[in-house]
């Protein structure tokens, strides 16, 4: 599923610049604990999280994740957005909570990473 489709399904607002690419996403990983992401995620997945600190972007970077979707309408600060821009990691935010966001995507056939 294209990232732009995920954006529509979760009614996401794009926080970083326009999507420079629209990657095809097959897997998602959801966690607030970055150590969990670092231990259990697989590359190319997207991260769904409630953690909007700078470490969320560093986590996505080192783990080769394709995008971050923040739940609960969380919005990271400008330094976080800037880092994501440099690392070419799109940031999106949805008003849904973690459970519902995962449920929607799971229902559309995305798999856990």
């Amino acid at each position: 599923m294209r990232l732009s489709e995920i954006q529509k399904l979760l009614n996401c607002e794009l926080i970083s610049d326009a999507l420079s690419s629209d990657p095809d996403i097959e897997q998602c990983f959801a966690a607030d604990l970055m150590s969990d992401v670092l231990a259990y995620s697989t590359s190319e997945a997207i991260l769904i999280t409630g953690l909007s600190s700078i470490q969320s972007v560093h986590t996505a970077d080192v783990a080769d994740l394709r995008a971050i979707i923040f739940v609960h309408d969380k919005r990271p600060g400008p330094q976080v957005v800037e880092l994501a821009r440099n690392k070419k990691i799109p940031l999106l935010t949805t008003k849904l909570n973690l459970f519902d966001a995962c449920g929607v995507l799971h229902g559309k056939g995305l798999k856990g990473a």
Binding site: M34, S35, V62
Partner: protein, 153 residues
């Protein structure tokens, strides 16, 4: 048998690239920058992406441990013909029981650290899992040294 030091000299590979970074305790704001910088260097050097991912994950957990539990560290990254290697030597409280610290789920992290997404007791075991070689040494009230490497082939 050679005595150990002689063997070490014979086994030592040529260092193709080396860079040292400093990490400061409690510096959450910059936590991840060393891992990110090392990742960029590895990309520029054309290192295989699975090797980059494994070492970068280890580096990030190592860096966060210094920020959470130590005063400061020298983090040395080197590229050798057969491996990428890190030696991270910190000054700080040290680890009284390494066996315990290496267990998944064991942690002395505070609530504040968990709110930052770390402190689940997964860091050290995950550094070891992503490394082909891993050594940890620690002296309480002095500091901790991690040495780990990922093979290029």
């Amino acid at each position: 048998m050679f005595p150990a030091p002689v063997l070490d000299v014979i086994m030592e590979e040529e260092i193709l690239y080396s860079e040292t970074f400093r990490i400061h305790g409690n510096d959450f704001e910059h936590g991840g920058e060393v891992a990110a910088a090392v990742k960029s260097v590895m990309k520029q050097l054309g290192i295989r992406s699975d090797v980059i991912r494994r070492l970068s994950i280890a580096n990030f957990e190592c860096e966060m441990n210094v920020i959470m539990y130590a005063d400061e560290a020298e983090f040395e990254f080197s590229v050798l013909p057969s491996q990428v290697r890190v030696v991270c030597k910190d000054r700080g409280q040290g680890i009284p029981d390494i066996g315990l610290a290496m267990q998944e789920g064991w942690s002395t992290a505070t609530q504040q650290m968990r709110e930052r997404g770390f402190g689940a007791g997964l860091g050290l075991p995950n550094i070891k899992r992503n490394s082909d070689k891993f050594e940890i040494e620690s002296t309480p009230s002095v500091g901790t040294t991690l040495r780990y490497s990922v093979n290029l082939e």
